[in-house]
Symmetry: C2
Subunit: 192 residues, 2 copies
């Protein structure tokens, strides 16, 4: 297969992310979100919120991370962040993205595999910020949907606050804003 | 409204792109694509095909262009490239994206409005490449779907070849590859 055909086969393979269903519904829609449209949404969210990052970040790297961050779900499926993430699932996602990046021409996938591993480890400023932003749209979905996915998946307020407090690692200002909204959602009975 | 709330209202507003239906179906799916998942797909396609661009391009600018390129469709809807694009429709898209970018904090939207206008004009190397890549996934969809959208929208082979030959302005190598695939699709009766 020639080089361009290899890239085209990658482009066709990643179409499958459009069929991976997530646990929240886009604001105003009665269907669940898929991981491809989510990936677009977090990229644009990261771009527009970049001035609120705690650390100096490279937004171009962050966007690339977020473009690929869910590719492992094509093989492994989406998991709600409130479920405990097993080592087995992490391995399945890693081998999934590795399989997909292997479709690219020789030597092209490694750079993106490293970027994905950096995102997963969540230790560099870029990865910390990217992971923080990844949590924002699902919170907004629930806040605009009477806590639909929190109630459906039996997630209490304390769990939502504890798990999402990691947003503060990427942006204190953003977390402070969202925490206030979550407190108000508690008063309205949005949690399980 | 404080600054972060303005960005969050933008993030919620652009959710509507997930409900804008396009004219082709993702490979393997029996539903039509929406413009949000398409936007993700073209960003990643542009990234992985960047080595085949005719000119020196700034891939980070190209990705930002493609992240926002369809936002005007929230107000104007999607139009198949084979339909003639009226000035009225172009104006509707421009005022649509302007409205959406105006939700951002003071002074933040202008940069992206300029980027969108550059994309629309299609004259700089970045815009020429971005516009070329924007045409690739719909071709792949039709090539993997027996020409479903070409037949349904009554598009003959010559029209597909003529309109998509503009891909060559962004990448001769890519167009040469796709043109060969389109010729073969003609032999299989994929066109109207």
């Amino acid at each position: 297969m020639n080089q361009i055909d290899k890239v085209l086969s990658f482009i066709v393979e990643i179409e499958k992310l459009k069929d991976v269903q997530r646990k929240t519904r886009p604001v105003g829609l009665k269907r669940y979100e898929n991981s491809a449209e989510h990936s677009w949404h977090v990229c644009l969210s990261a771009l527009m919120l970049k001035d609120y990052a705690n650390d100096d970040i490279n937004i171009d790297r962050v966007i690339k991370m977020l473009l690929i961050h869910d590719l492992g779900e094509i093989d492994a499926g989406d998991t709600i962040i409130y479920a405990s993430e097993t080592q087995e699932l992490k391995d399945e996602e890693a081998s999934g993205i590795n399989r997909i990046l292997s479709l690219l021409p020789e030597g092209k996938g490694e750079e993106y595999m490293r970027l994905w591993l950096e995102f997963e480890a969540g230790e560099t400023p870029d990865a910390i910020y990217a992971k923080a932003i990844d949590r924002v749209p699902p919170l907004l979905h629930n806040l605009h949907d009477n806590g639909h996915s929190w109630k459906k998946n039996d997630v209490p307020k304390e769990k939502v606050l504890t798990l999402n407090s990691r947003i503060a690692k990427g942006s204190d200002e953003l977390w402070s804003n969202l925490k206030e909204k979550l407190e108000k959602a508690g008063d309205k009975g949005f949690f399980a």
